[in-house]
């Protein structure tokens, strides 16, 4: 998640240094934390020929990261979520005292990721409520349970990920992913799915089975 640098950035308050870096384009190789520090310390009233390219560079980087992290499985392909998270981050960048303003300066990638996760979580809550409402209208059509072995039979990861992206309950996905990593459902001696999720064995097994059944239904024909 660290953003690499090809060379050292000028001190964040060195306007001349940043003018040069923008002039020769080398600012694109600097750590994003250094670019945010310069934007904050030079301040919004500084020379626009230096400031605007830095701001646009940060904007593009945040947008690319958010698009990579927020899937198209959400409403409107996740574009509204990306727009909201991006707006929150770029606005906060100009407020060095805000949590995002500080976070972008010390750990840029992690801060963007944290906001992306916040956006996904908020959206999943809405999607889950909508699904539950739909399910009440149409309680039939339970997916057929087909016995599959995820490790042997589902070998197309990209297909698996596409199906898992539609499991809106993050706890079910987490249970299934830990199951895929061969974490025991319950164990007195080591970390288990029951302990990690804080649920009963019965619930954990039910969740894992639900996701297995969904994968079998969606990918059964391909495997």
């Amino acid at each position: 998640m660290d953003h690499k640098t090809g060379e050292d950035a000028p001190p964040s308050t060195d306007l001349e240094g940043w003018r040069r870096a923008v002039g020769n384009g080398c600012f694109r190789a600097f750590r994003m934390e250094s670019v945010v520090a310069a934007i904050q310390d030079l301040g919004p009233t500084t020379d626009k020929t230096a400031m605007n390219p830095l701001v646009l560079h940060v904007s593009d980087t945040i947008t690319r990261m958010l698009r990579g992290m927020i899937g198209r499985n959400h409403r409107n392909q996740g574009e509204d979520m990306i727009a909201r998270a991006h707006a929150k981050l770029v606005t906060a960048m100009f407020n060095p005292q805000s949590a995002d303003g500080k976070g972008l300066r010390v750990a840029f990638g992690f801060r963007v990721a944290k906001r992306a996760a916040d956006a996904i979580r908020a959206e999943e809550k809405i999607e889950k409520r909508e699904l539950e409402a739909d399910a009440q209208d149409d309680a039939k059509g339970e997916p057929a349970t087909v016995e599959i072995n995820p490790w042997q039979e589902v070998n197309e990861r990209i297909d698996v990920e596409r199906v898992l992206a539609h499991v809106t309950d993050d706890q079910k996905r987490l249970a299934f992913r830990l199951h895929m990593e061969r974490v025991p459902v319950e164990s007195a001696k080591k970390g288990s799915i029951v302990k990690a999720l804080g649920v009963s064995r019965k619930t954990a097994e039910k969740w894992i089975e639900e996701v297995r059944a969904l994968l079998a239904t969606k990918l059964g024909g391909k495997t």
Partner: protein, 204 residues
Amino acid sequence: MTDQNRIDELDEVLFAFHRACANPSADEIIAWTGRYPQFAEDIRAHAAILKDWAARRNLPADEPDEIMLARARSRALDALYNAEVARRSDASASPRSFEQMMQTRGTDLPELARELDIARSVLADLTSGGMRAPVGKRLVDSLMHALAITEDAFQSALQAALRSPRLGHAKADEAPSIVSRSYEEVIQDSSMLPERKRYWLGEN
């Protein structure tokens, strides 16, 4: 704990969790939910999302199209414009003082003096309008770095301090007076060791 405090603490905990666990294991989830039981549900939700990303890490990344990038750039320039308007309206009210700059960085005069290894009296003279311009380059550079300010901001704060110097206590038989001294005089009259005085009077 107020709601806002709880939100702030949750934000800090989750940010730290993201930094510590790129692909959280069962043991890590157990450790973090054990340490912050009040945020267990949020930690598990973020763990699920982190594991989704970890699973997709080596798959082809989705790229934004030009329209999405252009809209985002427009939002970013709007945010810059709004920040500029706000800053100019703050600046026209009054330039930021050295005290405000220290407060913004979460420091104060004694702490800053320790950080720079300079006599407290030097900074006290500077911030109270007792030091005439020009200020030595080494001190200006050090303060720009420590307070994360530009040279323009430093000069504005210096001029503001000189315009409104703080008076010392008046003696019974004398009117209070403002005695400003040059940078060299302030350094020489301080209690610093000769070696530190030479350093602060040096050029590079």
